[in-house]
Structure formats: C-alpha cells, structure tokens
Symmetry: D2
Subunit: 325 residues, 4 copies
C-alpha cells in the first residue's frame, strides 16, 4: 500500500482520484488544488484530506505524486516531485514547449516518471499490440491511426490548447512511436479549417492528415478531426507482412436494430472518459507497479519525443514542407 | 451441349430460361406454356421457339425437361418426362399431397430427376456445409434455421399455397435434412397468426416454430414468418462439438453510414430472386452435370422426405402433439 | 447509506461483496458464512466484520440482507429476513421445488425482495428492451433466446444442480417473461445428451430446445447447451411487427486480425462473471434503490413463475408432450 | 442493338467480350488482336469473327470500339476510332505519358469516349457516392482511400507498368476526383520498398501514402501496397460534416466460424476480376448508354487528370516535396 497525493481536482483529476482510491495497492493520501472548494469536495468524496504540494513533497510517507493540474505546471511539478524523490504520474503533455521540455532532461531523465499517455493502456490497443508482438502477422510495415473527436471544443479551449497537433494529435504521435518500434524521421502534415471558422481565426486547424516516415521506410498516416459527426473515433490499422491487425471503435452495447433500412448498430461511445475508462484504471495500476519498483513503461523521454513530432507536424503544416523532429 | 425444353414461362420459369440460355453446356431448345403470349415472349427473348410438352418428349434431340409450371403439374410432368427417358429438372415441391407423391415412387425413384431445392446451391449455405464437412468444428449437434419472408403474400396466394409448412418451410425441412445428415423422427410445431388476420381466416398460420429431433438426439429449430419487417431473412446456425458455423443475411452493398445513431449497414436483400440468383444459376449448371452423366445431388426421394416433414409439422401444429414424418 | 449484510462468501458472494463495498449508497456491514475462513477473508478484504444471520436480523441498523448462500437456503433465509423487516436481495433460484416456493407466498409476496436475475440488469439486454419498449419496431411477436455455456460443469455439480432447465434455462425463462410481456401458457421441450455422457447417466440433458407459447400466440424458442465450443453464448433476437432487435455476444476487445483466411475477431468473453460484471454491479445498485424506497423490478413472484416454466419444460422433455406451467 | 468491335483478346479483353456478348443492347461484331490464336479463340467462344482495326473503322455498321489492347496503343487507337466517328470504350490509363496524353486533346476532347475506370461502376462505391450525394451526411470533408493488392506482381510486370502511381494508384486518383467533387491542387507522396526488393531495384516503390489537398482544403489520403497479406483490399471512408460513409471489402460468403479463438469471417475476395465483375458488367452497359446517345460519365479529360495526379505523386515521392498536378 503506497501513499500518493493528487495534484489537480479538475475533470481528469477526479478520474485519477477514483482510480487511486479504488486501487487496493494505493492510498489516496491527499488532494492539492488551488481551487479550495474543488479540493475539499474531492477529498470528501474519497475520504481523504486537502494538502499542499509543499507538504506532500516534504512528507516521507508520500511515495508518489499524480500531476493532473494545468499543462503549464506539468514540467515544474514533475521536476519538484522528482527532486523530492517521489515517483511521478504526470498527465500528458509534459509541456507545450519542446525546448523547455528538452531542457528538463537533467532533472527527469532518470526519474521514476510515468507520462500518462492513456491510450497505451486501452485494452483494445493493448490487444492490437499483443497481436503484432506475437509475430502472427509478421513485421509491421505501415500504420493508419484515426483519431477524431465527436465534436469540436469551444474556441476558448482551442486558444490555450497549443493547437491541434500538440493538443490532440500528440496522443497519436505517441501511439505511432509505440507501435512502429522505430522513430519517425520525416513528418509531413496538411491541415485545414473545415469544422469551425472560429478555430481558423485563432490560427489553428481542425482537420489534419500527418504522414510519418521512419528511417527504414515504414509509413504512418494520422487522421485527425475535431468533429467526426458520429462519436469518438479512435481506430488503428496496422499492416504487416502477412496481414493486418486493427482495433475498431467501441459501441454502447451489442444491440442492433434490423429494419427496412438495414441493420443499425448501437451508438459509438461518445465521451473520452467512457471510451478510456479502463485505460485510466490500468495506467493508475501501472503507477502502483512503479511504486513497487517496476520501470515506467512510458516516461519523460516519450513525452519529449511525442512533443517533437507534434512541433514538426505543426511546422510542416505551416511551411508545406517535410519537417524533421 | 444438351438441348433442353422449359415448361412454364412464369416468374421462376423466366429465371431458368435465362440461366439455361447463358449456360455454355445447355441449349434452350423450346418453351412450353399454355399462356401462348408468355411462351412467345420468353422464346423471343432467348432466341428459341415455342413448343408443346408432347412434341418435346417425342423429340429425341431433347435431353432434358425443366418443369417450372404450376405445382399441381409437377408430379405428372415429371412422370411423363421420366417415362420418355428425359432428365428432369423439377421445381419444388414435388407435390402438395404426400400420399400421391409417395405413390409415384415406381416411376421416379430411378429417374434422373433434380428436385430444385435452390438453397442447396446458394454459395453461402454451400460454404457453411463445406465448413461442417471439413470437420473443422467437429460433428454437428444442433441447428437453427431462420427463414422469414420480407412481407406476406396476398391471401389469394396463401389460399392455394398448401399452407406455410408445405409452401415456405419445405425449403427449411430440406435444409435440415441436408445438414443434419440424419432423418428427423419427431416433429413438434406451433403456429400463430400474428401478421395478417386474413391468413388466419384461411386456416393457415403466418408465424411458426418447428422443432425436429433425430434418432440420435440432434435437435433442429426452424423459425418461419411471412414477414420479417426488414428483408429476406435467411440464416443458419449450425452448432457442432467444437464451435459453430453460421451463414448470415446478404446486404445490398458493403456500404455503412456512421452517424449520431451509430453505424448503419446497407439494406438486406429483399427479394428471393436476388438473394438466390447465384443459387438458381448453380442449380441449372448442376442440371448440365446430370445431362453429362452425374447423379442428381437432390432428387425425388428428397422431395418426398421434405413433404413428409411438412405434413408432420402441419399435423403437429393442429394437434399440439409430436408427429412423426 | 444503508447497512447491509451478506450471507455467503462463495464465488458469487464475493462479487456481491465487492459491488456492495464500492457502491456509495451501501455499507457492507458484515459477512455471514458457515465456512469461517471464507467469511473472515472476505470481511478483511472489504474492511468489514464477520457476523451471524441471527445477529444481523436482530440488528436494527441492518437494512438489507444479500442472500448468496447455497440454493437450499434461499427460501428459508428470505423468509426469515423478510419477517425481520429487512429488504432482501436473493440469488436465483428462489428454490428448486415449485410447491415449496409457492407455499412461501404468504411470507414473501409483499416482501421488499429483489430476486437476482442478473440478466435483466445487463446493459445489452437492457438496451434491447429499451428499443422494444420505445415502440420503434412495433409490438413483439416472437423471441429467440440463445444461452449456451462455454463448457460443461463437472458431473458433481450437475448432480445437485436441479437439472438443465432449473439450473441454466431458468435465466432464459425469466428473460422470456420479461420481454414477452405476457405469460407463456404452453411449454414444449426436447432435450438430449450430446456433450457429456456422464450428464446423461445422472438423468439430465446437456442440450435442449424449449418452445413457449403465450395466450395471444407469441412464440419463444430457448436454445441451451452446456457447451458452445467458443465462449459464453448469450444472445437474444426479438422479432416485432416492423423489424427485429438483437443483442449479440461480447468480445474481449475490438481487435480483428485480417489474414489469408479472412477477418478474425477477438475471442468471445468466456466467463459469466466477466460477461455479467456490469449486470452484477447494476443489480446491487438497484438494491440500493429498494432500500431508498423503490419497488423491486423483479421479485418473488418472478422467481416462482420462472421456476414453474422450468418445471413444465422438464416435464415436457420427459413426457414428450406439451406442459402447462 | 449496336455493333461493336473489341481490340485486345487478353485477360481484360476476354472480360469485355463476355459482357458485350451478354448485353442485350450490344452485338459483339468482331475481335481484333495481333495474336491470331487469341483472337480466333475468343471469337469462337462468343460466336463472332476475327477482324482488323482498319476494317472495323471502315465498316459503317460498327458503332463502337472497345480498346483493351496494350497501354501504349490506347491513345493511338482512341484517336483513330474517334476520327472514324466511332464511340470509344478505352481501358485505363489513357497513356503513361502526361504530355502525350494532353497533346491528344484536339482529337479526343469532344469524342464519345468512355475511359474505363471500372471502380466508378462498382455497386459498393456507387452506393457510397449515392449516400454522399443524397446529402444525408452533409458535405464531404475528407477521404481515406485504401487500395492494396493481394500480392505483388512479378518484377517483369513492374518494369513495364509505369510505376505504382501510374499503374495502381491511378484508379485511386480517379476515385478521389470523383468523390471530392473538386480538383486536388497539392500532392505529397511518400513511397517505400517494403514488399519485394526486386521492385526497388527497378526504381519503383511497393508501398505508398499520398496526400491530396483541394483548393478549399479538403484532404484525401490514398494508401497503396502491392501486398495486403489478406486479399484484395479496396475500401473507402468518406468523412462529411454529419458523419461518415464507408465501403468495405467483399468476402467470399457470409459464412462465419465461431470457435475458441473467436468469430472468423470468410476470406476476402482475392482477385480483381471477381471483386469488380459487376463493375465490368456495368461499365459495358454504360457503353451501350453512350451508343444510345448518353454522354460518357467518365472520359478523356478524367483520364488526363488522373494521370496528372499520378505524375505529381511520383514526382513528390522522388523529390520529397509537394507537387502540383
């Protein structure tokens, strides 16, 4: 049983609080949030107390810190927690600025830091990777990652999001690296504003295609849109020498209606917290592994590498030229 | 190249005319129909002539006769064609009366007679049987045959149809025998009038379930309705000791629409002539095999056996008791 | 927050303990089990204490009792708990003996008793019922319930199980009643021993088909086997006047492998505790509703009615005749 | 009934011969092929005669010419047939050389020329386009075209093929134009040799991704490989503002096997002549429309435009830069 403290009582923080509280290997020892009401409500819900980051880092009983605060604090809090000898669970992205993220290497490259790319913990994508790793379809050759949100965020969110590539596609860059088993060396991206003109006014795109190429010539296409029109569209197709493995979207139930128009399946899951509920549970469980001594399966260097790809994609979309991460 | 004559220029006769005319091993040498206009139109369409059954049977150049006339003529014409030494392609059913069908044994049991249970020639059901015969899933144990029409026929058709069990389920009794590899020895059926009260007034049912049991205890359920509400519903599930093989419905295309309500497939094929177009082609090709010397894969005895099951089912539905074919 | 006590620390009891402990509206106030070790281990796991049924019924703080002990105690414990004024969550079946179950009516018909037919709480079957209830496909006409276990239980279990109809099909009889909205008045069943000869030696069957018929002529087929060969096979097809609603099996993930042999989906869920994990959670949540004052959605009378159908089916399978529940 | 002459008795010529011969609106009046044996065999099969292109063009009874000869003759024969006043059915591509193809504009832009991009006539892709055109999912925004062969051709074929982009992807460029409803103005392509090193030695690629962008910002990705490992992989996903329409691969039957490993569908169709059998039939039927006076739905200009995109893609794959068609 490891004591951990959660920093951030917002939407994603509440998910982590629940998963930590229900994990038999973890004890949720405190909640930190500048919004006192939010911290207190969450602490009450899970029968723990409100604390501060300083107190938590000073407390030798606290073994780990979960950082689910705003993006601009991820790097600083991670560095402080690592310096205090705590294991770190840090929400993605590690930072929005690649240079700053890279400069933290001294403080973080040896840290027991789990960078919470939740999709690596999704049962469907894990099953896909297991099939590939089993060798059943031969070596991977190319990859199609489809990652579309159900509907666009408000422009106010877009304005501080870091842009589609760093905010949304960063998950897909991490998936690409995870599955390709090789670093992309060339990035070409093309983006458009087709969904919401307000997004374009903010200098961002809402629809994009990104083409990654590794040194050995493996190819990966990432398709992103801020709006699918039908739900949370999260799919992967992995072409290998002897076949293809794919992970499909998740529906709300197995029910179908067969009528004059044909067979209609149930709706696709629409909300990322539903779609990835099990992934969030599993990544928290992996944090317990780390507190037990296991190395993080995804860490600081992965956060930097995904960010580098995101910056390269954004640069390519601007310049119309191939960029290198 | 074998000369054959078609008797019957109605809906199903036109299908057989086309398949015979386009089969490189057959020559459609004549059309017989009491409705002169129908015979002439069909003969013109396929560049052949109108003839009579007498002339066709007398003509030594005619090797085979396709009987697609009204049901009450099937038995008589088959007997005459067999007596004249012709190979016979006879539409199902062999007759509506079991005693009469059985009494024809002397004239037909050795005949080169193909009884046209078209579903045996459907590529999907053939693929299902091939999987079972391959042994990949072990011996068959039980069977679910679903066979629902898109929408009910007019009461005028029902009145002369012989009733749901002889008219519609007779195909399913044949499929059951074909797949079970063993004769059903007990039949229990329950029928209702849920679709069209006019059908009930005619003493018939429009919805039924029939349970067949073989001597070794294999079980088969046949589900019938005159109206599915969504298309032509023709499915089979075959449970074997190491798994299950199933054949599903056919859609009009592979297109799906993914929208807010979920994924919608294209419509199911609705019309039996579309659904079984390839089956009709293949059964005509099998008639060419027979003319080349092959034994019929399904013949007179199969027609009688299916009719016996249909009569037993109708009797069981009336009496509420198990019947024996 | 309602205090409840769990009776029975076996496999299903442990599921209920977990769901009660994690439900924010319930407090697991004690565990009862004659096997002291099992009770203590489960109490320790969920931070509660071991108690006795007598003490629990005497304790005014205990609002509800969850009965997950052996089947032969269900009726007695339910009566005692009801007499003590407790709300009752009773595992299925209410009893194996119909006469005995009926004779308990005086003590139980007004009880706040939830009979735990878990499938009514499965999200897939609930979604199916919601579609039917919405009227989108018109009134229900016939039903196909498929309910096959992955592999047969040991003969020692079969010997005390009450037989396939009472042990396994009882769930399906409840589903049939729930969905038909009308009581079956005729039952015909046919059973075979095709899976394990030891089951036959015990006088039981391992494969069965049961045909139910309501007064208005609605038809329902239940297909049961102790072994599917491919996983936990739990499906429903509900035919209505304007189409069909179906709930399909659940796979372990959305992953497919596309290879030379075609597309292969992931395995079907194999274990009932996985397949119905959410159903168990929801039925415990419904017990909290009852403790809050809601009427049970499924209770004593439903347990008796399902048992009556199971007895009728067993009788029909023996006699070869239609039976009435 | 229009008389047409077929030029080319090779594999694709034989398909066109069959479809012309079986089309009630066409009469196959002659076969032209420098390989006399091939011409005679095909003429015999369909009961027609061997002729020469000169004779055919001189014969006023000949209304149309089907050009299914080698690619290097397409342009010349089309020009000659058009000059002779014949309607032209020309196999794709119009030529391998863009400049030459463009220079033929004077002779062909007004010709009644059907450029045989067969996929436009596939029932699945037609159904997809019909859904888009119906407006049911709003305006198209982006497109994913997947087009992989089952297995690579021999290097000898690759050597004369014109390269992956002109030989294989040209179909996809035409599909993109057909569906986007707008011309792509930017092309970025990346190609690799991952399947067969011999293809690389010939200076070609066997795996590629191409990204097209239209003036309004619509995006299209084309995925190509010379080897899928599982069959003929021909799929489209069309994202629109209110959902997505997709056309999936075609399986050999609807049969599934459910076993311990899960559900396995039947194999995917493997051979392009099977997959597009109906498309070939429909495009020949459209040639009959043209002979009846209808304008070609796809013609010379489409052939040039697709070729321009193929050249741009090949150039981009060489240079690593965006190219313009």
């Amino acid at each position: 049983m490891h004591d951990i403290v959660l920093v951030g009582a917002g939407r994603i923080g509440r998910i982590h609080a629940r998963n930590a509280a229900l994990n038999p290997r973890l004890r949720l020892a405190g909640i930190v949030d500048p919004m006192e009401g939010a911290a207190q409500a969450l602490a009450a819900e899970w029968n723990t107390t409100v604390t501060t980051l300083d107190d938590a880092l000073d407390d030798p009983a606290v073994a780990g810190v979960v950082i689910a605060s705003s993006t601009d604090t991820h790097l600083e809090y991670s560095l402080r927690a690592a310096a205090a000898g705590k294991a770190v669970f840090c929400e993605k992205p590690i930072d929005q600025d690649l240079a700053r993220a890279r400069s933290a290497a001294a403080g973080l490259s040896d840290a027991r830091l789990l960078l919470a790319f939740n999709r690596r913990f999704d049962p469907n994508f894990q099953a896909l990777k297991a099939r590939l790793d089993s060798g059943a379809v031969g070596p991977l050759e190319s990859l199609q990652i489809t990652s579309n949100d159900p509907s666009p965020p408000p422009p106010s969110y877009v304005a501080i999001s870091g842009g589609l590539f760093k905010d949304m596609a960063i998950h897909d860059f991490d998936m690409a690296r995870w599955l390709l088993g090789e670093e992309p060396v060339e990035v070409f991206a093309s983006g458009s504003c087709l969904v919401d003109p307000e997004i374009g006014k903010l200098g961002d795109v809402d629809t994009a295609r990104t083409l990654l190429r590794t040194a050995s010539g493996k190819l990966c296409v990432i398709s992103n849109s801020r709006r699918s029109g039908f739900g949370y569209d999260q799919r992967i197709e992995a072409y290998a020498s002897a076949g293809m493995v794919r992970a499909d979207n998740v529906t709300e139930s197995t029910v179908q209606v067969w009528g004059e128009g044909g067979a209609s399946a149930d709706r696709f899951q629409n909300f990322f917290l539903d779609r990835y509920a099990e992934a969030y549970r599993r990544e928290m469980d992996h944090f317990a592994d780390i507190l037990d001594g296991a190395p993080p399966s995804v860490g600081y260097a992965d956060g930097v590498a995904a960010l580098a790809l995101a910056e390269a994609a954004a640069e390519s979309a601007r310049s119309g030229k191939v960029a290198r991460p």
